[in-house]
């Protein structure tokens, strides 16, 4: 167990960033997101949640794949994938950590997504326990312990100190390399964890009933009339998708540069009306169908393909960010099971 005074965190950041790239919650304008640590940035480590989730680091919103050069009828393909240097992702909360497992199930399944994999392998994750969980948090429903997230290094803020415990070899190596840390005592951390766990138990959504969401109910859930009302106010924007730590739909697009064509992939959203549109038909014609797809995917389709693992981590970002206050909690309460009433 290591520790550092809260007020000296900047020293820690500087030391880490001196050796490898460091990504952590940084506030720019009025919003906090994971960004690269550089001199002068405003680190916002206490912020419970970044707007965009940490998936951005492995599956960025936009990522070059290849380039094409054409001359006459000929095409030349140039691989544009970059090999990432080792980096530290600092301040990941339990929910986001859990989302990595879910993304892994998609991107590391055969055929493996090499772009994603390379970044997953390059990272050392420093998690941070949630001292002040919010009412929109319901990670516990999905088996996340926000007081005890198990990254390569587990960090916990206790009073005016931050404690670090290595949980993997990678984590140990990172901590061993840092000279600004001093040895710490585990007792205080245990106490804090317990306190956090109690706070979590008191949150309003921690007892959501998910019992109805299972593979065999697929068609039954799909045909539930409640979808109409649930989705009524949906604008069809991509806010929920883009702030979601587990959404992984993407598009592959070409961009004509002055020199050739860049092919990149970027986040897409199943909430967009163009998502499934083909030349003549669109299998999901209305917003209700698209809304249903997103939640059915997270709560039913994904678990039925992934050993019952849900495609949601209960981070509550969609609860906070939906422009019209629609969210997965409302869906679960309506369709999840009897105990939600």
């Amino acid at each position: 167990m290591k520790k550092i005074a809260y007020k000296n965190l900047d020293l820690l950041y500087k030391e880490i960033a001196g050796a490898q790239e460091l990504y952590l919650p940084v506030k720019v304008a009025k919003a906090t997101n994971f960004k690269k640590y550089e001199d002068g940035v405003e680190v916002d480590i206490k912020s419970l949640q970044t707007v965009k989730s940490a998936k951005d680091l492995f599956f960025p919103q936009s990522e070059d794949m290849m380039e094409f050069k054409t001359s006459g009828k000929n095409i030349e393909i140039i691989d544009a994938r970059k090999t990432p240097a080792p980096f530290v992702l600092f301040g990941v909360r339990g929910c986001d950590l859990k989302s990595f497992e879910i993304l892994d199930r998609v991107f590391l399944a055969e055929p493996v997504d090499t772009m994603y994999k390379a970044k997953r392998e390059a990272v050392t994750v420093v998690t941070l326990a949630c001292n002040n969980p919010e009412s929109s948090c319901f990670c516990k429903v999905f088996g996340v312990d926000a007081s005890n997230p198990k990254g390569d290094v587990q960090a916990t803020i206790v009073g005016d100190e931050m404690f670090f415990e290595p949980l993997t070899e990678k984590g140990r190596a990172l901590l061993d390399s840092l000279k600004c840390l001093e040895d710490g005592d585990a007792t205080a951390v245990e106490g804090e964890k317990k306190a956090i766990a109690e706070k979590i138990d008191a949150l309003p959504f921690v007892n959501l009933d998910l019992s109805e969401f299972k593979g065999e109910n697929l068609m039954k859930l799909f045909d539930r009339p409640e979808w109409e009302d649930l989705s009524k106010a949906c604008l069809g924007c991509g806010t929920c998708t883009f702030v979601c730590p587990t959404c992984q739909c993407f598009d592959i697009r070409d961009f004509q540069t002055n020199a050739g064509v860049k092919r990149f992939r970027c986040w897409d959203s199943c909430m967009y009306s163009e998502f499934t549109k083909m030349a003549a038909e669109n299998p999901r014609k209305n917003q209700m169908q698209r809304y249903r797809q997103r939640f059915m995917h997270k709560l039913c389709y994904f678990p039925s393909n992934n050993d019952g693992e849900y495609g949601c981590v209960g981070c509550g970002r969609c609860v906070k960010k939906c422009p019209q206050s629609l969210n997965i909690v409302k869906v679960i309460k309506k369709l999840g099971g009897k105990n939600n009433d």
Partner: protein, 320 residues
Amino acid sequence: MQRIETAMIEKAKALLSSGEVTRVLGWKKGELGYDVEPCVFKSEESLKDFCYNVFCGANLSKYLVEESKKEGKILVFLKPCDSYSFNQLIKEHRINKENVYTVGVECQGKVDPYKLKENGIEMVDSAVETVDTVTVKGKEFKKEEIILGKCLTCTKKPLSYDDIISFNEKREPVLDRFETVKKLEAMTADERYAFWKDQLSNCIRCNACRNVCPACTCTKCVFDNDNSGIASKANSDSFEEKLFHIIRAFHVAGRCTDCGECSRVCPQHIPLHLLNRKFISDIDRLYGEYQAGEDTDSKGPLTNYTTGDVDPSDVFGGNN
């Protein structure tokens, strides 16, 4: 202020039961108090979830583009600012007015849940509102501490309605709506560039601003249309965030009623309304005051001209 909600429910029930309307467009209670959602109520019974309180910030007028196409009349409750959007949509032939029964409702400013949170209040069971204050969880706030940015500068008066429910005189705005625009104009170009670079770099292109905007009702947006030449899905380069927001603001210039929804819904809190307000302020300054949505028949400033209009070289205000 509970009184107005009761009056609205009564109105809705009366119109539903008389058969004058078949549906009611209003707001529905949420799970955490502040997460009120727009909703179409189809029966008197369903109105039990109806609410009208300090969290009903959402502008309902855009839903009417689709709803007014449907069979049967729909009752809609419009706050003063929503009614401007409604008028503008009527002007642009996007709403079938025949199918809409409008009831104007009083608004004394709606609460911004983020500001509540900054003040340490997270979950809300009930909020008690007076014209100037809101009391949440026993804590009394002045309106200007916690209402939405768009409400701080609101001068909108209720426009023509089929009916109106209002018990109090409207609050005066707390701020001049062009104050921040002026502040930005007074900066140097470098400072302005730095300001917008920071703000727009947060944009995740979720399209919430566009999809919520009552002026953005295109069948297919140019940014979704691969044939438009500027289609894009993500800001793959910082240029694209600028392109998106400049073009979007330009497309709604002269049509934007300044309802402020774009800024309210931005997950990254980008003050997008400052772009629209820049256009509004320039229009007011250069071509005479114009409030989109104030009427349903005037020509907008960008589809109009006078022979003596200012030359583009002379438009710049503020600092270089």
